[in-house]
Symmetry: C2
Subunit: 158 residues, 2 copies
């Protein structure tokens, strides 16, 4: 099968050292401070990023060693297709999180609202632009009425 090769442009420095206790979603950890150390050779790519209050971080779930086509959140009753969940145990273990950008200091981004584990490879950083969100009504399927479960809980097995 055709494969696509990416390489880290930086790494996460986070208080969460392993999967135990890491928040399920960035939105559940708004006050948790962390850093992105961007590798020296990519620092020029950060110019003008400091004007943005939030960034989209594309990262690799490096501690994930298995994948599944279904996911069973511990706070929910049944299985769901993995593409209908935010489980990290997915065919390509890629995370996409929106975090607050508190400052840029050379090649280091100070961030908060972090659900990433320490050492996670960062593949891409994009500015968060609310105008790219859907306008109009949004339906969230099986998650309707279950946001609290998803956002607030922590677990060793997300």
């Amino acid at each position: 099968m055709q494969t696509i090769q990416y390489y880290p442009v930086g790494r996460i420095v986070s208080p969460f050292k392993d999967t135990v206790g890491v928040p399920r979603q960035a939105a559940g950890a708004r006050d948790v401070g962390a850093k992105i150390e961007v590798f020296e050779e990519f620092t020029a790519g950060l110019r003008d990023l400091d004007g943005f209050s939030h960034i989209v971080v594309v990262f690799h779930f490096h501690m994930v060693t298995r994948s599944s086509l279904t996911a069973h959140p511990p706070w929910d009753k049944g299985d769901h297709g993995v593409f209908a969940t935010r489980s990290p145990y997915r065919p390509n273990p890629t995370g996409v999180s929106i975090v607050r950008l508190d400052g840029v200091d050379g090649s280091v981004l100070q961030i908060s609202g972090v659900d990433m584990i320490d050492g996670s490879p960062v593949l891409d950083i994009k500015p968060y632009i609310p105008e790219l969100n859907p306008s109009g009504s949004v339906k969230v399927g099986w998650l309707a009425g279950k946001m609290d479960g998803m956002i607030r809980s922590c677990s060793g097995d997300r």
Copy 2:
């Protein structure tokens, strides 16, 4: 350097056959219909996705053959660090777009609001969950007041 290998779980079927005329952002193409053909072996991962009105599509800019640490949008005056832009010419040419999910028919997702080129490899599909967006005020740095330029324009060189 450590590399990360991903593989396509599907591909985009889009009216945009190459980089000429493709909208800059999904938000600039809300009425453009397209499809994601999910490969047979991943179809089980789609269960329950049909309840969501919007999805986050992580895809590969397969027609990008160069990368740069700076980007100069044709509708703006100067260069910006690539991580402060949505340019596809980035160290890892990964796109993250929110599109409307109009229907699920077996392994085919009918979508609209598409800025992807036909044949783009899809790496991941996630449910769009507005509760994961930032609460409170958001600053968009150099893009402030320039959303129209970013969202409305089409170009052969984004």
